[in-house]
């Protein structure tokens, strides 16, 4: 694997994580629990889509085969997407969406903070912008986890159920493969293992404060990096890609 190939793979995966999560988040637009929250969540979806777009643009440029970000987003199959499985999980209720978001925000803030020290200038630029955004997203999702955990009996129950459902997808955050190893040596990619303990500590503190119990001895699901997804992703893509697939010659 060349550095270029590794960088393409790495950037594409970061982009996929963003696009797929944002696609889920924007399903909430106009359906939020109240107007201010609807606006906040749409804003978060916008930030994450924006990041995904920048990452896919860069991936396409690195690949240098005449594709652009829209080819990458709309003309790949589910088997060619390498996002973490947690991103594609259905929104469920607001507790599930917020727990999913908190787990991801906590990871992403650490990831992009490290990535802002990369030797790759484009990734540094994207990371710098993302850090500001994710700091706000994390404050938002963390405060909801706390509110749900310490709110009503119902909200506590829903949050605990969501945590139990989603925890099995968190192992994937810290998986690495050949492309990562190669780029870490070059000072480009982030060694996610380097902050795994810190992530676990922050997450434990969050759920302790929220009076929620972290599931134990959970078997961690995997497959995203190989393009083997949960059944959700193919449906998500069928919807997202419908128009460009139906009219491949059209420009929008």
């Amino acid at each position: 694997m060349t550095t270029q190939e590794a960088l393409f793979k790495y950037t594409l995966r970061l982009g996929d994580n963003s696009i797929i999560l944002a696609q889920r988040l924007c399903e909430w637009t106009s359906k939020g629990p109240f107007l201010e929250e609807d606006l906040a969540l749409t804003n978060i979806a916008l930030d994450i889509f924006g990041r995904g777009k920048s990452l896919l643009e860069y991936a396409a440029r690195v690949e240098n085969k005449g594709r652009n970000e829209d080819h990458l987003a709309f003309h790949r199959t589910d088997r060619q997407f390498t996002n973490n499985l947690i991103c594609e999980q259905d929104n469920g209720d607001y507790a599930k969406s917020m727990i999913r978001q908190a787990l991801i925000d906590c990871f992403d803030l650490m990831l992009y903070t490290e990535l802002s020290k990369s030797k790759d200038e484009t990734l540094v630029g994207i990371a710098a912008k993302s850090i500001k955004e994710i700091t706000y997203h994390k404050r938002h999702s963390f405060s909801w986890v706390d509110r749900f955990g310490n709110g009503t009996e119902e909200s506590h129950e829903r949050a605990q159920k969501a945590l139990n459902e989603l925890w099995r997808f968190t192992g994937e955050f810290f998986e690495m493969e050949e492309a990562d190893e190669l780029l870490i040596k070059e000072g480009i990619a982030v060694d996610v293992k380097s902050f795994q303990a810190k992530w676990e500590e922050e997450i434990k503190a969050l759920f302790l404060k929220a009076n929620l119990t972290l599931p134990e001895n959970v078997f961690m699901q995997t497959g995203g990096r190989k393009g083997i997804h949960t059944e959700h992703l193919a449906y998500l893509l069928a919807e997202m890609q419908a128009l460009p697939r139906m009219y491949p010659d059209a420009k929008w």
Binding site: L35, E37, F49, D146, G151, M240, L243
Partner: protein, 313 residues
């Protein structure tokens, strides 16, 4: 005697083109009229998120998705300013929402039409937001301060939306034959409903007279409709599309187009609740509200607990 004085002050403010502010005395009918109009406007923004939101997940490029998402978010923001402006007249947002959810309050009928293709997203931005701007530009100078100020901000964003809508139409109209067909089909379906947005003909418009007197409205329904047609026909021609009206014809004497009246029976029918999507829109709104109830409750209970802890500390 005292009331008479208040009324004089109110009238003289209107005469001098001064703003009426929330704490100023105002006639009951004025308050009632404004509350009806502003809350209806707020509801329209919120319901309007639904037909456009219908295409967010299927927007055909990442850029188009970002633009549409931002646009729908803007509409929600408009709803928020408008609810706040309406609250300054003494009705809570909960009361207004309750009226919306139980069909007691109205919203713009245009949103009871479906968005069936991506070209509809273009048509909604271009035509529907375009028509809304015609109404709203004059509202920036309306007599009630909070409403006028909200409208200044809203108008800026709406004219941006209109350009975005027209940009989509341009891509479609100059795109592949299928895209052009979608563009024409969208225009065919949205043209007359858009003309209805200006309200019934002047001779049948029950609320217009007072609204003009109070500077809540500054031009009549028919004047605005005529101006919209004059402005839009040129844009249709640029796109190479056809206005779906055989009677459309330039009238040199009035320096404007003659055009067919929309089907006012259809207009009344949609207002009555029989439009293609009245049921779906209301159901979607109620579902979101009901699904969110436990979330709002959790936030309230949590807030109370925090206050208690704070007080105890």
């Amino acid at each position: 005697m005292e009331n008479k004085n208040f009324e004089d002050i109110f009238e003289s403010k209107l005469a001098k083109n001064e703003m009426i502010e929330p704490k100023d005395w105002m006639p009951d009918n004025y308050r009632k009229h404004l509350l009806r109009q502003i809350s209806q406007h707020a509801h329209s923004e919120i319901i309007g998120m639904l037909p456009e939101g219908n295409w967010i997940s299927r927007a055909p490029s990442l850029r188009a998705k970002l633009v549409l998402l931002a646009k729908v978010q803007d509409e929600g923001g408009h709803g928020l300013y408008l609810y706040t402006a309406a609250e300054s007249l003494g009705t809570s947002r909960d009361e207004m929402l309750n009226a919306l959810h139980t069909s007691k309050a109205k919203y713009s009928s245009i949103f009871n039409y479906p968005t069936l293709s991506w070209a509809d997203i273009g048509a909604v931005g271009w035509l529907v937001d375009g028509a809304a701007i015609m109404n709203q530009v004059m509202l920036q100078r309306t007599s009630y301060g909070p409403y006028a100020r909200a409208m200044v901000r809203i108008c800026k964003e709406e004219s941006f939306h209109q350009r975005q809508g027209y940009e989509i139409m341009t891509h479609m109209a100059f795109g592949t034959p299928e895209q052009k067909e979608m563009a024409q089909d969208a225009l065919n379906r949205w043209w007359f409903p858009t003309l209805m947005m200006f309200g019934p003909p002047d001779i049948e418009s029950p609320n217009s007279e007072n609204a003009m007197k109070w500077r809540i409205k500054r031009e009549t329904n028919d004047q605005l409709r005529q101006r919209f047609v004059n402005q839009t026909v040129e844009q249709v021609e640029y796109l190479g599309l056809t206005v779906p009206d055989k009677n459309l014809k330039w009238n040199e004497a009035k320096k404007g187009y003659d055009f067919s009246e929309p089907d006012w029976a259809e207009f009344k029918n949609v207002i009555k609740g029989n439009g293609p999507c009245n049921k779906e829109r209301l159901e979607a709104r109620n579902k979101a509200h009901n699904d969110g109830e436990w979330v709002r409750e959790a936030a309230t209970v949590y807030g109370k607990k925090q206050m208690e802890e704070y007080a105890a500390a």
